[in-house]
Symmetry: C2
Subunit: 389 residues, 2 copies
């Protein structure tokens, strides 16, 4: 029996074939005009993909590397910062702040929820050097209102530093209009290539802060990267094949909208949002409970499994029976929720296939009182309404 | 909006990634020990895949090249042959017989049907040098009963020559037990690679006929290929990358059954048959009429569209809306039927996705009185029954 492996994880996401081919062909040296042309092209594309006039840098690291850079480059030991944490990746900001000797005030929200703006407003102090947050908290599949937080920070000296690793390509940002000082993305997310690259936009306000930062940094010294990037180079040996793949993926995103990357970015976000909405409708139709119903992320959907059931069993059954890879909850959510992704190279028929598989597991394996076609039909209604001619 | 291109055509079929990688890596010369080892390995695998002790040859041509070889090598001008024709590929045998100056008696069956065995029995004469037929008539998606025809031919001097181009990997053959003298396959079918290779098994009875054949042949002279194949070579420059891809695909089929290619072949046939049955159930649930209800092929399913509807509109709508590629009818069936494939690298979730897409076209575009999830649910019942634990 053929079972095609289908990644439905919120990173890594399915690889774009055109990017795979570009990676395979990337047999070039990184200190040559060929590479410089590629690097400058990809950096220019990333500016459009992020939607900013700010500098955009590319790091050969995972997204966490760019998160570290966003701490080490703009703060000094003893600085006060505000962290908004509502999940595993919020906690990562706390860990990074601690590692660099910062004093972190933390506003939390329960897993699956987003922050109370009044609480954030009260917590934010002029002495906070930066506010750190996620746009989309991948561990709970909740999205946070970056625009609202940006409104609180604007016209203060505090930097707004946003982990958009699963937010980019799934939600809209007006980086320059809102005043997002740092926005971070990762390669294995909406841009459809394997892990190994992180990218981030850096505002002039952030660059000013970088001048006074006293934190030790070397590999992630963004000033060095900025200087080199202007010449089409990276400070250290870059992940050349991934950069070639990223260029091909951004070409693909542009080509989905007639060559216009800005429109392609909007279409990509729309794609994730419609697939997310269809998936939510399908899973709710099967009786599952959305884990982040009030501010669901379009990057992934998390659902809570019924009391007495282990979400790991469902994840395992989907893998064993259909070679379909979803994600269990992380940390304390393990066993309680499962997550399915929509960011990047997914299309609507992937959603149909996913829900068809979940129906089998729900009915055949778990014995839930559901009918075949029930989730698919709910998703189809969402899709048909979204794309009415 | 992302729409992944999905081939659901009965050749070319979706490419196996492992075969694509093997093709990309096939940078070897064809008169070297490396190539000879590859060629001998693939020929040995093909014997298992066809399921025969007969010689198996590989030609760098489309399936039609092997069909021509099966005429030119075993007959002489003026010979009488019997052709069983029930569609476009049956007619191809008639065309080939004519091209080589044979006298062809033809037993026909209406499109979508198979042959009346009594009629074939009556038509078959001792002077028929060969009987030519399809195992699966791709143009109508009907399968023919090769075993029953073989019973009529056994212990006669007539050769049984079978186009199994879409039959191999979708139905079972006992080549040696039944006495199939020639069985032909093509690369862009169940073996999951692009077009460009044909393969065929040749019985000793057929080799004897080849000795007396007076037809002109050069590129398709099978005696030359047999002689070279024993040394791991092809007579003329072979399509090296495709052969490397074929080897990888046959490895994959074996690996689906723990490394046992014979079991893998059975699993592949089972896969096509379950997907075909699920697809038929789904399409019937939507009110479509099966075009070959009595002897449906597992290679593809053909359905007739309702009176007044053009099947081309449905094919076009699936392509435009979902990038899903199906096949219109050929010849006089154009506009009246559409065909969807199951042979090769398809899995059950592909079938779910296909039916979900057809539901949208049926309901949203064509305005048929159907419900979302209706076809999917019918297919799910078939699948659940087939793979009950």
């Amino acid at each position: 029996m053929i079972r095609k492996t289908r990644l439905f994880t919120p990173g890594p996401t399915p690889l774009l074939p055109a990017a795979q081919f570009a990676m395979a062909a990337a047999d070039i040296h990184h200190r040559t005009p060929e590479f410089r042309a590629l690097f400058l092209k990809v950096l220019a594309q990333l500016k459009i993909f992020i939607g900013t006039q700010n500098d955009v840098l590319l790091l050969s690291s995972s997204g966490t590397g760019a998160m570290e850079a966003s701490v080490s480059n703009f703060t000094s030991p003893g600085d006060k910062v505000l962290v908004l944490s509502a999940g595993k990746f919020g906690e990562r900001w706390v860990g990074l702040a601690k590692a660099f000797g910062l004093e972190a005030d933390v506003v939390t929200a329960p897993n699956g929820e987003t922050f109370d703006l009044e609480v954030v407003k009260k917590a934010l102090k002029p002495e906070h050097k930066a506010i750190y947050m996620q746009a989309s908290e991948t561990s709970t599949a909740a999205s946070h209102d970056v625009e609202a937080i940006a409104r609180l920070v604007k016209n203060t000296d505090t930097l707004l530093i946003v982990d958009g690793i699963t937010g980019l390509g799934t939600q809209t940002f007006d980086v320059d209009g809102w005043g997002v000082d740092i926005l971070i993305g990762g390669s294995q997310k909406a841009v459809m290539i394997p892990p190994g690259l992180a990218y981030l936009s850096v505002s002039e306000k952030a660059w000013a802060a970088a001048e006074t930062s006293k934190n030790p940094r070397y590999y992630f010294d963004l000033r060095k990267e900025r200087k080199n990037a202007s010449k089409g180079e990276s400070a250290y040996t870059p992940a050349v094949a991934l950069i070639a793949g990223l260029g091909a993926a951004l070409d693909y995103i542009a080509n989905q909208a007639g060559g216009d990357l800005e429109k392609g970015r909007i279409a990509l976000i729309d794609n994730a949002q419609v697939n997310a909405a269809a998936t939510r409708a399908g899973l709710v139709a099967l009786g599952f409970t959305l884990f982040a119903p009030k501010s669901p992320s379009a990057a992934a959907t998390a659902v809570a499994v019924p009391e007495g059931m282990n979400s790991g069993d469902l994840v395992k059954a989907l893998k064993t029976r259909f070679a379909l890879v979803t994600a269990n909850g992380q940390g304390e959510m393990q066993g309680k929720i499962f997550r399915v992704a929509h960011l990047g190279f997914f299309d609507y028929l992937d959603t149909v296939a996913f829900l068809g598989a979940v129906e089998h597991i729900a009915k055949d394996t778990l014995g839930l009182p559901v009918e075949y076609g029930q989730a698919v039909a709910a998703a189809q209604k969402v899709y048909a309404a979204a794309y009415k001619k």
